[in-house]
Structures are given as structure tokens and as C-alpha cells.
């Protein structure tokens, strides 16, 4: 009778409180907004990168003020393990190695990424990049092997290739990071050498990596058929190479193409840094990439009109950072007759390396001294250099060869040389060691390349603004285009003005500043993409669809056909032949000024993509020393959070009190139940006694 209104009242109360509920978790933990971890990579012999424990690593936050302050973390601090927060100036090899050596007191490291690049230069990559996978082995040339003669990246401190058993995250320098510093100042800072009192500010980082030991182990564990659902622990690094031809060749017939002579104009597509998914690669990659894209566009009309005998293949290799994945795969395919041409068809190679110029106007033409000992190869190389020289003269530029006995810098061309001697030149902006002070680091960004826009421009205006970097790269592109045209048999004087400037500036803006701009929207499918030059991620094909579409648009031509025909790779209903030669893609186009519907169009080009996974995974030789064996571990969750933590003694006391209460209540219950008849039946005895 009274139950009904009570239950209604209860429901109403629950409803009110349920709707405005407070999560206890939110009151304790503050989660990181972006998580930029360092992840684990494995190859045939080693594992590199960072690992956390399965349930996250917790440590008391410590803001490192100087390298001497490390002593607090390593030995004198009373509350290990510590979570060390480093400003970028302290993110050096010596600090990290010291932290690594006493990793029982270090729970993890957090690096604050600055807003401006450090002036001293920083490169976590190796000092001799791709040392064992290039052409300079002991057999090929003992004096040039292992960078004996020239150390290409002297600033390289090899941090990216070290193994850490604690997590390392990167934080942007924003308000949240300032709040963390404040938390440290309020709770953790030792005052006058005294021990900081609990509660202390602590941080927990989760970045548990599933793969371990080396590639062979993790590939084996991927494929073990024992358990009910086999768990993948790692993925081979791999993506696609993108290439386009100046003259269409039959793609379906693979192998040698008799009578065809092809010049490979190469550039690389990828970059990396110490942290996952951060790879701006402005000077190391974007400069060469943008230049070659502009060259491809500039020569589009000229090569079609001139009907040259030699074909130019503009190739963009992926994965070159990790032991030349893309170029080794392409050479492997060519050797097996699985590629559109084979090595006999290759006439020469012209590679565009790091060509970002910081104010100077000189480029260096590197070639391989060992293969040039052969006179026919030497002749071709001399011709190529002459072409580059003559096209440079007309542009107020100068190109020069570095010393004749200097090795080739790390470049995709080295993998071609490994297969057989081919004439080729690599264009770089450095004579011997790199001038890039941030090679393969997170600081190799648009600021370093001087891609900067005056303040107050809208994104549309920025897209069209021509920066100084764009101007200098446009010059390089024109230089390369003219030389390439002459090399392919064209007449040098007919290639007069190549207006690459607008393309170059737009490409630079899109790759380095804001990828999601209107120009890209007009020329591609609606793909949701992240960064263009990515830390090499397995299966990250959205980026390359992007560059593929870009290349198609720049080298192809618009054809008048329906969207359905276009997607089915034909020009009209009966067309069955052109799909062997051309590739059709539907671009979404721009909306006309007086409408809102985008007018799409079909682009026909010779641009294709081919798989760029290391041959070691095709051949299943996971301990191979000939090919790249890099894999990236998988993980379950990556996050970080910050909270206040109580002292261990208080935790134990609370636990002890709880256990004590439990035992006491158990004892009490046992006691009461065993004496229950005395305690509870004492009232009833008199009633029984009356009978």
C-alpha cells in the first residue's frame, strides 16, 4: 500500500541523479588530449623503440631542469619511479642514455615539443643512414663502405634506433602542458632539499607493444594456428610506390619491353622521426617530392608533342628510410619480370634528393665512382651532368660535382646499382655531409624550409601565395625538367618557359602547412587524410591515393566520358584496350561560381601504384640481410593521464583497515550465529515453558 508511491519517488530520484551523473574517474584523472608515443619496430636482429607495461607505467612527475638535476631521478629522489618531463633542449643522447641505464627508477619520459626548432640541430637518425642496405658493401668498395670516407649525417645521435623499456611520449607546448608544469611546481618540487610531501603529482602512460624480439619471431606468432583467433602482433612496413610514364606502355604485359629505353626520375615519399606518426620531412623528402611532381607536370605537354624515343618514368619510392623498402621492391620485381619494364630497359637514373636551398644557389650532382670506372657508364654520366650544367646556366644557377672519389649519398639509386651498374646522378644540396640539421626528426618542418606566410592571410590566399622556398624549388624543378628533356632526346631549345611556380607553391602549402585545402579537394576523391609524408605506417594508403591523384592530375589529361565509364577504366562502352595503357580516375572537381554541385571530370593518365613491401616478406626470409626486414608492432591502447597519487604507506594503511574490518565482521557474524539460540530465543522460552 505504501510501496507504490515510494517506488515512484525512488524512480524519480534516480532519474534526476542519473541524468546529471558525475564520473568519479573524471574527478581524479586528466587525460592527455593527443597521444604521440614512440612505438616499437623490429627487424631481423633487433627491436628498437619503447615499451610500457601492460597496465601502464605510473611514476611521480619530475620536471628536469638541467642535466645535473638528473641525479634526483637517478639516485637521490625518495619516491621512485619517476616520470621525467623533458624540455626539448634536454632531449639529447646523453640524458636519454643515462635514463635508459637506470630504468628501474624511471617509469617513462615525456618530451615537450617546442614551437621553434632548436638552433643547434637535432637528428635522432643514424649517422650513416641505411648503412647495410645500400650499394657500398665491403665487397663493392671497402674504402667507401660503412661511411668510412664520408659520414653523411654527423649530427645523427642514433636515438631512433635505441631500445627503451619505458614509454616515451611527446607533448605539444600548450595550455595542458603548462598545467602539468604547474602541477609539478605545486606538489612535487623539493623545497630547500627537503622531501616533497604526499600527495604528489603522478603520470601514467600506456603504450604496450605486442611484438617482441625480432621480425622472425613476430611473423611466426602472427601465423601460429594454435589458438582460436590468432592475434596479429606486428605488420611489415610497406605501402605503395607511385609512378607515371611520359609515354604509355602496356602494363599488363610484364617484363622486358623490347626496344624501350626508360629514364627513371626518382624521388622519395617518406620520412620519419623519433615519435610515431610525426614525419614532416620538409627538407629531406618534401623538397625532392614537390620538385619532381612539378617536373612531371612541366614536361607533360612537351613530351607528348615531341614524341621522344626515350620514356621518362617519374617514380616515387616509399619506405626509403627503412632500408630502401620501395626501391628494393621495384628492383626485385624488375629482376623477376614482374614489373612493367626490366633492368635492361633502364637507360639511366636521375634522382632528386634533398634540394631545399637556404638562400644559396648551388646544387651538387653526386654519382658513384665505382661504377664509373666502366667507360661506357662514365660516358653516360658525363652526358647527364653536361645536360644539367647547360640547363643550369640558363637559369642563373650553378651545379657542380663533388670530389670524384666520393660515394653516393643515401639514395634509392643505390639499390639499382646493387643490381647492376647503371649510369645515374643524384641531385642534392650538400657537397659531402648533409646540410640538413634536422634529418629525419620532428623539426624538419615548414619553418626549416622557410615556407612561411605573412600573417593575416586566409587559407585561400596562403594557397596561392608564392614563398621564397617555392621560388627556389621552382628553379630547381625547371633545371631538372630541362635536363631530363634533353636526356630523353628532346631538343633543348624548345623547352623555354615552364610555369611551375604556381604548382610548386601550392604543393608546398599542401604538403607542409595545410593539406586540407580547396585545391586538393577539387582534384581528388573525398578522402579523409591526416598528414602526407607519414611515419611509415603499414596500410596507410590514403596518403598515397592523394599523391597518386596529384600525379595523375599533373601528368594526365581530361577526357570527356561518364563517371561510370571512367570508374570502369574505359572511354566508351566498347573500349577494352586503353586500360592496359592508361589509368582513369574521377576527380570531384570544383563547384561553378553560380552553383553548389561539384562538376567532376575524368582524368586519364599513366600514373600507377605498385606494392612497396620488402622482398623479404614475399620470399618469407625474415632474417634476410639483403632486404629490409622492418616491421612495426601492434598495440592495444595508447593513452596517458595525470593525477595525484597518495603515498604508498597510506595505501597500505587503507588496505589494512579494510581487511581488518572484513575480518572483524566475519568474526562477529560467526560469533553471533553460533550463539544465536541464546541471543535470539531468550524471549521465547517463557512461552514454551507455559506448556
Amino acid at each position: 500500500m505504501y510501496g507504490m508511491p515510494m517506488t515512484i519517488f525512488l524512480f524519480v530520484c534516480l532519474f534526476v541523479t542519473g541524468v546529471s551523473c558525475n564520473s568519479v574517474g573524471d574527478k581524479i584523472y586528466v587525460d592527455f588530449k593527443d597521444n604521440i608515443p614512440c612505438v616499437r619496430l623490429l627487424n631481423a636482429t633487433h627491436q628498437i623503440g619503447c615499451q610500457s607495461s601492460l597496465s601502464g607505467d605510473v611514476g611521480v612527475l619530475h620536471l628536469l631542469e638541467s642535466e645535473e638535476n638528473l641525479d634526483w631521478v637517478l639516485s637521490s629522489g625518495p619516491d621512485p619511479p619517476y616520470m621525467v618531463m623533458l624540455e626539448s633542449t634536454l632531449f639529447t643522447r646523453s640524458v636519454m642514455m643515462k635514463l635508459k641505464s637506470s630504468s628501474n627508477r624511471v617509469a617513462g619520459v615525456v618530451v615537450v615539443a617546442p614551437n621553434t626548432n632548436p638552433s643547434a640541430g637535432f637528428s635522432p637518425h643514424a649517422s650513416c643512414p641505411n648503412e647495410n642496405s645500400g650499394v657500398y658493401t665491403e665487397k663493392y668498395s671497402p674504402s667507401l663502405a660503412h661511411c668510412n670516407a664520408t659520414v653523411w649525417n654527423p649530427l645523427g645521435n642514433n636515438l631512433s634506433y635505441e631500445e627503451f623499456d619505458f614509454p616515451i611520449f611527446s607533448l605539444k607546448d600548450d595550455n595542458d602542458t603548462q598545467a602539468m608544469r604547474q602541477c609539478y611546481m605545486d606538489h612535487n618540487r623539493p623545497v630547500n632539499g627537503s622531501k616533497p610531501r604526499y600527495p604528489l603529482c603522478a603520470m601514467q602512460l600506456f603504450s604496450h607493444m605486442s611484438a617482441v624480439t625480432d621480425t622472425a619471431t613476430c611473423m611466426r606468432r602472427n601465423s601460429i594456428a594454435m589458438s582460436l583467433n590468432p592475434e596479429f602482433v606486428c605488420d611489415p612496413l610497406g605501402d605503395v610506390n607511385i609512378w607515371a610514364l611520359s609515354k604509355p606502355l602496356n602494363v599488363t604485359e610484364k617484363g622486358h619491353k623490347p626496344g624501350e629505353s626508360v629514364i627513371i626520375a626518382a624521388a622519395r615519399l617518406d620520412s620519419r622521426s623519433f615519435f610515431f606518426d610525426i614525419a614532416p620531412g620538409a627538407e629531406s623528402t618534401a623538397s625532392g617530392l614537390v620538385t619532381l611532381l612539378a617536373v612531371a607536370h612541366a614536361l607533360r605537354n612537351a613530351t607528348q608533342e615531341a614524341q621522344l624515343n626515350t620514356t621518362i618514368m617519374y617514380t616515387f619510392f616509399h619506405g626509403e628510410t627503412f632500408d630502401y623498402i620501395g626501391s628494393s621492391r621495384m628492383v626485385f620485381d624488375m629482376e623477376r619480370n614482374q614489373s612493367i619494364i626490366d633492368l635492361d630497359n633502364v637507360h639511366s637514373v636521375l634522382e632528386v634528393g634533398q634540394v631545399g636551398l637556404h638562400g644559396d644557389t648551388k646544387l651538387w650532382l653526386h654519382s658513384d665512382p665505382v661504377s664509373r670506372r666502366n667507360s661506357s657508364i662514365d660516358e653516360e654520366v658525363v652526358k647527364l651532368i653536361k645536360n644539367l650544367n647547360s640547363s643550369a646556366k640558363s637559369l642563373n644557377f650553378s651545379v657542380e660535382e663533388p670530389g670524384s672519389s666520393q660515394a653516393l649519398p643515401p639514395s634509392s639509386f643505390q639499390r639499382f646499382l646493387r643490381a647492376r651498374p647503371i649510369p645515374g646522378v643524384v641531385i642534392e644540396n650538400h657537397q659531402s655531409t648533409f646540410t640538413n640539421r634536422y634529418y629525419q626528426s620532428m623539426y624538419d618542418n615548414s619553418d626549416y624550409l622557410n615556407v612561411s606566410y605573412p600573417p593575416g592571410l586566409t587559407p585561400e590566399e596562403q594557397l596561392d601565395f608564392v614563398t621564397d622556398a617555392a621560388k627556389s624549388l621552382a628553379k630547381v624543378a625547371t633545371l631538372v625538367a630541362r635536363a631530363l628533356f634533353v636526356q630523353a632526346g628532346g631538343n633543348g631549345t624548345s623547352v623555354v618557359t615552364l610555369s611551375v611556380l604556381s604548382q610548386v607553391s601550392r604543393l608546398l602549402y599542401s604538403f607542409l602547412v595545410m593539406p586540407n585545402n580547396s585545391w586538393f579537394h577539387d582534384t581528388r576523391f573525398t578522402f579523409h587524410f591526416i598528414t602526407v609524408i607519414v611515419f611509415f605506417s603499414p596500410g596507410n594508403t590514403t596518403t598515397n591515393f592523394y599523391i597518386g591523384f596529384m600525379l595523375a592530375n599533373l601528368t594526365g589529361s581530361v577526357v570527356n566520358t561518364t563517371q561510370e565509364n571512367c570508374n570502369n577504366q574505359k572511354e566508351n562502352e566498347d573500349d577494352k584496350e586503353t586500360k592496359h595503357l592508361y589509368y582513369y580516375v574521377w576527380a570531384q572537381g570544383a563547384a561553378p561560381p553560380n552553383g553548389t554541385e561539384r562538376e567532376g571530370f575524368c582524368v586519364r593518365s599513366t600514373c600507377r601504384t605498385t606494392k612497396a613491401v620488402s622482398p623479404a616478406f614475399e620470399l618469407e626470409e625474415y632474417t634476410s640481410s639483403n632486404y629490409s626486414t622492418w616491421t612495426e608492432s601492434r598495440w592495444k591502447s595508447i593513452k596517458g593521464r595525470i593525477f595525484l597519487v597518495a603515498s604508498h604507506d597510506l595505501e597500505m594503511l587503507t588496505l589494512g583497515v579494510g581487511v581488518g574490518v572484513l575480518l572483524t565482521s566475519l568474526l562477529l557474524t560467526f560469533f553471533i550465529s553460533s550463539k544465536a539460540d541464546i541471543l535470539f530465543n531468550s524471549g521465547r522460552e517463557p512461552t514454551n515453558a507455559t506448556y
Binding site: L54, H208, M209, S210, V212, R220, R221, I224, M226, E231
Partner: protein, 101 residues
């Protein structure tokens, strides 16, 4: 099941069943045999079937001890050396822990 209410022949029958079935690589049955029939076989006043029950319980205990040592030794060795055995260790494992060798 309350053994008090069973006649002695049925108790012996049960003990025998557990003893025999334990030979099918089921040492747990032997453990049950030992624990359940211990009081019956050794603590109760003697009756005819008890001698036979005693042998069954003793043999079950022996078998149990044997299995216990074998399994403990194997488990210790496996847990200690699995990581070092590389491929063999992986093929012997049903679940391989993530992130540790």
C-alpha cells in the same frame, strides 16, 4: 552425495570406479578418491569391504603423487625456458603473452 546412507558394497563400487577412471589421464579423480574415501577407509571401524577400499585409496594416492611431480616439473621447466626455446616454445604454447619474449 552422502556416503553415510550408502550400503558398503556401493561405497566400494564408487571407490573402484573413481580408481579405474583415474587411469584415463584423470589424476583429479584420484584426488577426489583420496579425499572423499580417506575417512571411510582409514578412520571408520573395520568392515569387509574396507581392505579393498584401502588398497584403492593407497594406489590413488600414489598415482596422484606421480602426476603431481611430473606436472610440476614440466610446468616449471616450460615456464622458465619457454622464452629461450624460440620457435619450439611458440609452437608448444596455446596462448603466447604479448609484448614479452
Amino acid at each position: 552425495m552422502n556416503l553415510e546412507r550408502l550400503p558398503n558394497e556401493e561405497k566400494l563400487g564408487l571407490c573402484r570406479k573413481y580408481y579405474l577412471c583415474g587411469f584415463a589421464c584423470l589424476p583429479f579423480l584420484w584426488l577426489v578418491n583420496v579425499v572423499w574415501f580417506f575417512r571411510e577407509a582409514f578412520r571408520k571401524p573395520a568392515y569387509t569391504e574396507q581392505t579393498q577400499m584401502k588398497t584403492y585409496v593407497k594406489r590413488s594416492a600414489l598415482g596422484l603423487l606421480f602426476w603431481f611431480t611430473v606436472l610440476t616439473t614440466w610446468i616449471t621447466i616450460f615456464q622458465h625456458f619457454r622464452a629461450q626455446w624460440g620457435a619450439v616454445g611458440d609452437y608448444l604454447s596455446f596462448t603466447i603473452p604479448l609484448g614479452t619474449p
